[in-house]
């Protein structure tokens, strides 16, 4: 079966500078791929390109076996969800933050409400449904952002360091919850992170991005070694 996400000879240029040059990247259906790398390695750029928010200077992105950036960005974006480092909620209630994107994607009001209730409850914030998004704590806002992404029932989920701004207990509980949900849904996911301890609950598959290139790809044990969890400061691009 062809991969759900496939990039080939991808080059992204910003301000005349080559930011990303990925020769090959493939993510199979249901696979969760963690992308790690230092600041400025091009992780966010890669995610934005896969989310069809930033066109490449050259190369191809194929999603669901279809060449992207052929004027089909909107249709393809509506089959994906992207969670940023910041929650980036709209200035309205928590519930409308979930239902608005669903309505934009042509889902009925009744179904949107049902999905909103289900996912807010799933992430433990059902009681905050009527609250203004501005009044949420950092953890609540990021839960809302995740609930919004899952309520869209995407076929591809892209996560850009979604837990970075959170304190350790909140981060840990959210990573665990996310791991459970990803397993349940068998969702094709690309997950960018700085914190390697977030990887084991989510996936075994890791790609290392350095200076815009994927320099390593394999299981977390292959990349980090057997005892990588103990080495919190381990930097896999320094080999």
């Amino acid at each position: 079966m062809n991969p759900v996400i496939a990039a080939h000879n991808l080059k992204v240029v910003r301000g005349g500078k080559l930011i990303l040059r990925v020769d090959e990247l493939a993510v199979e259906k249901g696979q969760v791929l963690a992308v790690v790398g230092p600041n400025g390695a091009g992780k966010t750029c890669l995610l934005h390109t896969l989310a069809l928010l930033e066109p490449p200077a050259s190369g191809t992105v194929r999603l669901f076996d279809v060449d992207a950036f052929n004027g089909n960005q909107l249709a393809l974006r509506r089959r994906m969800a992207l969670v940023f480092q910041e929650p980036l909620l709209l200035d309205t209630t928590v519930k409308r933050n979930i239902t608005l994107p669903l309505r934009m994607r042509g889902i009925s009001g009744r179904e949107a409400n049902a999905r909103s209730d289900r996912w807010l409850h799933r992430f433990g914030i059902g009681s905050l449904s009527a609250r203004s998004a501005r009044a949420l704590s950092g953890g609540e806002a990021q839960r809302t952002s995740l609930a919004r992404a899952f309520a869209m029932e995407p076929e591809i989920l892209l996560l850009d360091e979604p837990f970075t701004a959170l304190d350790y207990p909140t981060r840990k509980s959210l990573v665990d919850e996310l791991g459970e949900v990803l397993k349940e849904m068998n969702l094709t996911t690309v997950f960018v992170t700085h914190d390697y301890s977030e990887i084991p609950p989510l996936t075994e598959q890791v790609a290392v991005l350095f200076d815009g290139r994927i320099v390593k790809r394999g299981s977390s044990r292959e990349i980090f070694g057997e005892d990588f969890l103990k080495k919190k400061s381990y930097a896999p691009w320094e080999t």
């Binding site: 928010l53 974006r77 940023f84 309205t92 934009m104 869209m152």
Partner: protein, 232 residues
Amino acid sequence: MEVIWQGMVEAGRLLATLDADVIHITLRTLQVSVTATLISILIGIPAGTALALTNFWGRNFVVSVVNFGMGLPPVVVGLITWLLLARYGPLGALSLLYTPTAIVIAQAIIASPIVAGFSLAALQSVNPKLRLQILSLGANRFQYFLLLLWEARLGILAAIIAGFGGVISEVGASMMVGGNIRGYTRVLTTATVLEVSKGKFELATALSVILLVLSFFVTASLSYLQQRGRRA
């Protein structure tokens, strides 16, 4: 103080007795200023949005022109509009000079850059990452603009308030292109100037009080909308 007090009493009397002249002037003022503000919204918000969201060669120059336009002297706008609408001017065939429409045109020219400039600033203050998030949520172009305007709505309403404030208070352009014709193009500001020139300070004060009250109610309504948006 005596003149101001007598002016306030006179304003009350004129309104209480529904003085035909004053009611007409007040309604004309409201009609031209609200129409001009609506036109400036139709021009200014799309222009501000386009400038905020696009990049093209010469964009900075266009932004400078818009910002410069925010402080256009009404009397200069009046003169230009007069030259355009004068019988021998390029739009002379329309016979619009010394009509309420001429005042609306001049006021819309004054207010449009104000609305565009404030809208541009409001939209540029929206987190650029939120723009990407909105696109990634699956918004089409129309939904994208609508959501961005929603996010910038406090600033957009400030733009409308500033635009209305700019036109309700101007006198030079209305005088030049309207001609201050009694019962036709006389508005509160031009009527006030006329009464002062005639030495009728109480009536001028009364007209000013009515202008202030009118301006306050329109601005307060817009502010109410704006602040309700803040709590949403």
